[in-house]
């Protein structure tokens, strides 16, 4: 998708540069022609008319702006769901694939499964049983040979 958005943006920028050049040329041409006409007619009071842009240049500008805008929007990274349940569900379902950017790499701020702590925690320890075993071990003399298996 990256090449698509980049090419659309590039095309739009090309159009925009062409429209800018055309508008500049038009205004330059218009000012010189009105200057020569006014010098020929030699009307001292001829106000410089506002150079209204031809329709095709205006249309090209608007189309170019729209095209670049479309390319930029297509180039934005995917939005992420903000609700915790939706977000965590997406990670559970898609894993790293759901958080790739356009180049096929995982985003830098991908934090991984939020439930990993729960899934990899050690089992509950039966502390009373261990204490009983330790007490028996002490009563038997505390020798290293009779160390109970926990």
């Amino acid at each position: 998708m990256t090449w698509l958005s980049n090419s659309i943006t590039g095309l739009g920028l090309l159009f925009l540069a062409h429209a800018c050049y055309s508008a500049h040329e038009h205004s330059a041409l218009h000012s010189t022609s009105t200057a020569s006409i006014s010098s020929i007619v030699s009307h001292g009071t001829s106000a410089p008319t506002v150079a209204s842009l031809p329709l095709d240049i205006s249309l090209e500008t608007i189309v170019a702006v729209f095209t670049v805008c479309l390319g930029l929007v297509l180039g934005t990274p995917e939005l992420r769901p903000i609700q915790w349940r939706v977000w965590a569900g997406k990670i559970e379902r898609e894993g790293e694939k759901g958080f790739m950017n356009g180049d096929g790499q995982t985003d830098k701020d991908y934090v991984g499964n939020p439930f990993k702590v729960l899934e990899s925690r050690p089992g509950f320890i039966d502390i009373r049983k261990q204490r009983k075993e330790f007490a028996e071990w002490v009563r038997e003399g505390g020798g290293t040979s009779a160390a109970p298996k926990s």
Binding site: T76, L79, R80
Partner: protein, 115 residues
């Protein structure tokens, strides 16, 4: 606005909010300078230029809605609420931030083209 109780019931991922806001802000800043170039080439003046900016900013938000919000939220039908805390954040969030960049490139290109 969400209340404390609702936030406790359905918590919000802060990193995702930051990511979405950053994406939207970057896009609006970029496109605002682009609209300034367009308005300068067209030679718009005063209210027309700001109307141009308003119209194209709303168009950008609409494009974001179509290409980024709709495909994800089509499944559960949550709409904008899936990615933003309110729908106003999407539609009017970037308007003020991009305005300075817009005026900057607008005046620059107006001067360049009509020099």
């Amino acid at each position: 606005m969400l209340t404390e109780r609702e936030l406790q019931i359905s918590p919000i991922v802060h990193e995702s909010v930051v990511h979405n806001t950053k994406t939207l802000t970057t896009l609006h800043n970029l496109t605002a300078s682009l609209f300034g170039v367009g308005a300068g080439i067209l030679g718009l003046e005063s209210y027309l230029g700001f109307l141009f900016y308003l119209a194209f900013s709303l168009l950008t938000s609409a494009l974001v809605y179509v290409f980024r919000v709709l495909p994800g939220s089509a499944k559960d039908g949550a709409g904008t609420k899936r990615y933003f805390r309110g729908s106003m954040e999407l539609w009017t969030g970037g308007l003020v931030e991009g305005l300075s960049g817009f005026v900057l490139t607008w005046t620059l290109f107006y001067g360049l083209v009509r020099a």
